[in-house]
Symmetry: C2
Subunit: 278 residues, 2 copies
């Protein structure tokens, strides 16, 4: 496994690779890897002769400096896990390498970036789009893999690829869960023992919401109950929304392509999850 | 010369080309070609074994629908001129090909896009960045050529390339002028005989401003006089500014890297020009 910290040597190496390899698969990450990330690596390995992964905690997508400071960083373990999965190339740049000049460019996705996560994390999706565009231009993959856990992020990146005509395919892979249902997330490492015990309530609330919607209950009634249940477990519900999967516009009842999106604070740790409804 | 109207066949063709050609030079245009454009083709021909040019009047960069409607369109002549210069590949897409979905993405360059041209043409540079990013991702050139006449556009594209890490070099080529000094522009075709006679005053005003700055006169005094001279010739000055060449911040006096930027209406036709000062 080759590890690069700088853009130019990576580009030179991939240029050679590209001459013979039929396709390059790309798995961008912020490190602190878990089985969710590894499922993306496995998918890429299956589809492409060469898999490139990046490990970079992108400051531009953090609206909360505390969240950025506390984001888990486990580079040595991450590299061992990637090597173990057979990942061929890793790009782990510094901030100076990724942002040689102070960023001035911001993206506006005409509303999609302002709702849900965007409402609670102003500027988040502009920062995501900026770093993903950079990484796509650095790695120039044929296929890029993202996890469905960050559902709205996937939608934003779909728009980015379509509107800027990036020459690649996106693949969105299913959420990987702990045995108790908690969606895998790097932020789970920040939960203390008590918080970890309560955290599965987030996923359970999605399942409960699905069942109650099937029984004909309204989102506002369900949301109130869930917020109350969570509060009793020390979890603060930020949003619980039923939306259609394309523009994420709010729904009152389940339609053929709907998804439940949830965000909640377990202690100081903000977690998100989602559930597709058929 | 190969002419493509669709993205996928162009990509397939350039993929073959790229396997053997050392570099692809790219000259994006909005057609209505003149010697200024041809100087870019010539520069690209000198630098690269393959030159790709695009002809596309990008609606997203026109704030004024009338300006868009009246923008000269001369595809047959353009193709003849490009063939004559030895351009190898032309991309002339439809709006449907470039904007398969309604564009929702907008770029914000943190101020640089709001001043000068941006002040008078709201949204212009977001539209420019959008189409240039698309074209870069479609053509994937090693070198891209732009004319200095659109000075602020060049600065915006420099930022775009730096901040999104496009894997290419930009070359900015000097303004090509008519014998009477008028900067070549596709919009010159819209001038009637009388307007065409008056239009060189725009360049003359830049030269006059340079001389008067050297004599120690203030920009505000010079600007008043120039606006008056122009008005007498039926030209309406929109702006005349002395700025430094990096962030285009306004200057009171000439510094080592300064440029004079001007925009004026000759009848209904809006023209721009600039002059680097050493």
């Amino acid at each position: 496994m080759r590890v690069f910290k700088e853009i130019q040597p990576l580009r030179a190496y991939l240029k050679q690779i590209r001459a013979s390899a039929k396709s390059i698969g790309f798995v961008p990450t912020m490190g602190a890897l878990h089985s969710g990330h590894l499922s993306l690596i496995q998918a890429s390995k299956k589809d492409n002769p060469i898999t490139v992964s990046s490990i970079y905690v992108n400051p531009a997508q953090f609206n909360n400096p505390k969240d950025l400071a506390k984001y888990p960083r486990t580079l040595a373990e991450d590299l061992a896990m990637l090597e173990n999965e057979g990942c061929e190339v890793v790009f782990a740049p510094s901030n100076e390498e990724m942002y040689a000049t102070t960023p001035t460019l911001r993206f506006d996705f005409g509303g999609l970036d302002q709702i849900l996560e965007g409402q609670y994390r102003p500027g988040h999706f502009s920062g995501v789009a900026l770093v993903v565009a950079k990484l796509f231009n650095i790695v120039q993959p044929q296929v890029a893999y993202f996890g469905q856990k960050d559902f709205q992020q996937v939608k934003i990146i779909e728009r980015l690829v379509e509107e800027l005509k990036f020459d690649l395919h996106l693949r969105c892979m299913p959420i990987v869960r702990e045995p108790d249902g908690l969606a895998m997330s790097s932020r789970n490492k920040r939960l203390n023992t008590e918080e970890r015990k309560q955290a599965p309530l987030i996923y359970q609330s999605l399942v409960q919401t699905q069942q109650r919607l099937q029984q004909g209950q309204s989102m506002s009634q369900i949301r109130n109950d869930i917020a109350h249940q969570m509060a009793q477990a020390g979890i603060r519900l930020e949003y619980l929304e039923l939306v259609e999967t394309q523009n994420l516009s709010q729904l009152d009842h389940v339609v053929p392509k709907s998804v439940l999106l949830v965000a909640a604070y377990v202690g100081e740790v903000r977690l998100i999850d989602n559930l597709m409804l058929e």
